[in-house]
């Protein structure tokens, strides 16, 4: 202790104090100190301790609530994530199924188109053959008719015989009949 107060009051004519005295003055001074300390304790508690404890408790409560909210949000997010993962897994399966079906359908369609095209080609080919055959027969018929006609003309010239129309037609018909038979 750096004794400043006794130095300031050295000239005082009051009776000297004591270190320890058990008398009525001690009790009265104790009473004064009880008052002093009671006032101080009340003021410190009222001004400092209680408001600060309230502030700290409120902050603790706020942080606890926020932590709880964060925990709830996290759980919700995990649930959503799980749900989305399930959905995504379902979508993946569905996508594969759709692709498979599409592929299958495309393949069927492709096969059908090939089959149709081939059949069409065969039909065209057959029709062409038939047309060719008809044309061939028609040409043969025409050729025979012309050959017969030329032959008749030639024959008529050669034998120099006047032949009427009836004889001409009869000879023609006979020649055609022979031709057909041949």
């Amino acid at each position: 202790m750096f004794p400043i107060m006794p130095a300031l009051l050295a000239a005082s004519d009051l009776p000297p104090g004591s270190i320890l005295h058990f008398d009525s003055a001690l009790l009265i001074q104790m009473g004064i100190q009880v008052l002093n300390i009671a006032v101080l304790v009340f003021l410190l508690s009222w001004l400092l301790y209680k408001p600060l404890v309230k502030f700290l408790d409120a902050r603790t409560e706020r942080i606890r609530n926020e932590m709880e909210a964060v925990r709830t949000d996290r759980n919700e997010a995990l649930e959503l994530k799980e749900r989305y993962n399930t959905l995504l897994a379902g979508i993946e399966t569905e996508r594969e199924e759709v692709l498979h079906q599409a592929y299958k359908k495309a393949m069927e369609r492709s096969d059908q188109m090939l089959f149709d095209a081939r059949r069409e080609a065969e039909l065209i080919f057959e029709r062409s053959l038939q047309e060719l055959d008809v044309e061939k027969k028609s040409q043969e018929e025409e050729l025979k008719r012309q050959v017969v006609e030329v032959s008749v003309l030639l024959a008529s010239k050669i034998i120099e015989v006047n032949m009427d129309r009836d004889a001409h037609d009869r000879l023609f018909d006979e020649a055609m009949a022979e031709w057909r038979e041949s």
Binding site: M1, F2, P3, I4, M5, P6, L9, S12, L14, P15, P16, G17, S18, I19, L20, D23, S24, A25, L26, I28, Q29, M30, G31, I32, Q33, V34, N36, I37, A38, V39, L40, V41, F42, L43, L44, S45, W46, L47, L48, Y49, K50, P51, L52, V53, F55, L56, R59
Partner: protein, 230 residues
């Protein structure tokens, strides 16, 4: 060398007893003024306290959380609302013990102060005991047998006496030793060498005694408020 608690001003006479404003009372008022101003300052700053503490707010929060730790460790949930009382005692004792470093005679180096503190704790112990234990409070004096009544009464009276004399003795011894050191040293050395004594007697012993007084008070209050025989 004068270790006595000097009378500063005459106050009044009560019967044959002259009452003075002593160094202790003046120092108590100074300590009170400092603490009340500090409390008002903190109370005003509380409005601007942030959610994430920094600087000064950290110091205040550490102090309050330390006190809450004492309270939670030594009192039950119902008693925690009296934390302000113990906080006031702790802060007053600590500041009083440290006031020696600022040229004051520590108020706790006077039996009137430590006796007043012990008296308040005594009232708290038995007030809480009666309030919480009711009939069991009286019964606790004859536990575990009626024969123990005198011992129990002496034990209860010894608690505040031990609190008062422990604090008084420790702080007064520091004052005496520090005063002796100041008086032994030449004036030129009085600003450096006594620092070692201040660090030990004021800072270490001061904090330790404030802690011991507060924690013992809480323990005594809790003991008397709890039915330990049931």
């Amino acid at each position: 060398m004068n270790f006595s608690n000097q009378n500063l001003w005459f106050l009044f006479t009560l019967g044959d007893t002259e009452i003075y404003i002593t160094e202790t009372i003046l120092a108590t008022w100074i300590v009170m003024a400092v603490l009340i101003l500090f409390a008002v300052f903190v109370r005003l700053r509380l409005r601007s306290f942030k959610r994430v503490p920094t600087g000064f707010q950290n110091i205040i929060e550490t102090l309050i959380e330390m006190m809450q730790g004492f309270v939670k460790d030594n009192l039950d949930e119902d008693m925690e609302r009296h934390g302000g009382f113990f906080f006031g005692l702790f802060v007053f004792i600590l500041t009083s013990n440290y006031s020696g470093m600022f040229g004051l005679r520590p108020p706790t180096s006077d039996l009137a102060t430590t006796g007043a503190l012990a008296m308040m704790v005594f009232v708290m112990i038995h007030g809480m005991g009666i309030a919480r234990q009711k009939g069991k409070y009286i019964k606790s004096y004859i536990e575990p047998a009626f024969l123990f009544l005198p011992i129990n009464i002496i034990g209860e009276l010894a608690k505040p006496l031990s609190l008062a004399f422990r604090l008084f003795g420790n702080i007064l011894s520091g004052v005496i030793i520090a005063t002796m050191i100041y008086n032994m040293l030449p004036i030129v050395f009085r600003f450096l060498l006594p620092d070692v004594a201040h660090v030990y007697f004021d800072i270490l012993v001061g904090a330790l005694q404030a802690y011991v007084f507060t924690v013992l008070s809480m323990t005594f209050v809790m003991q008397k408020s709890t039915d330990i025989f049931s």
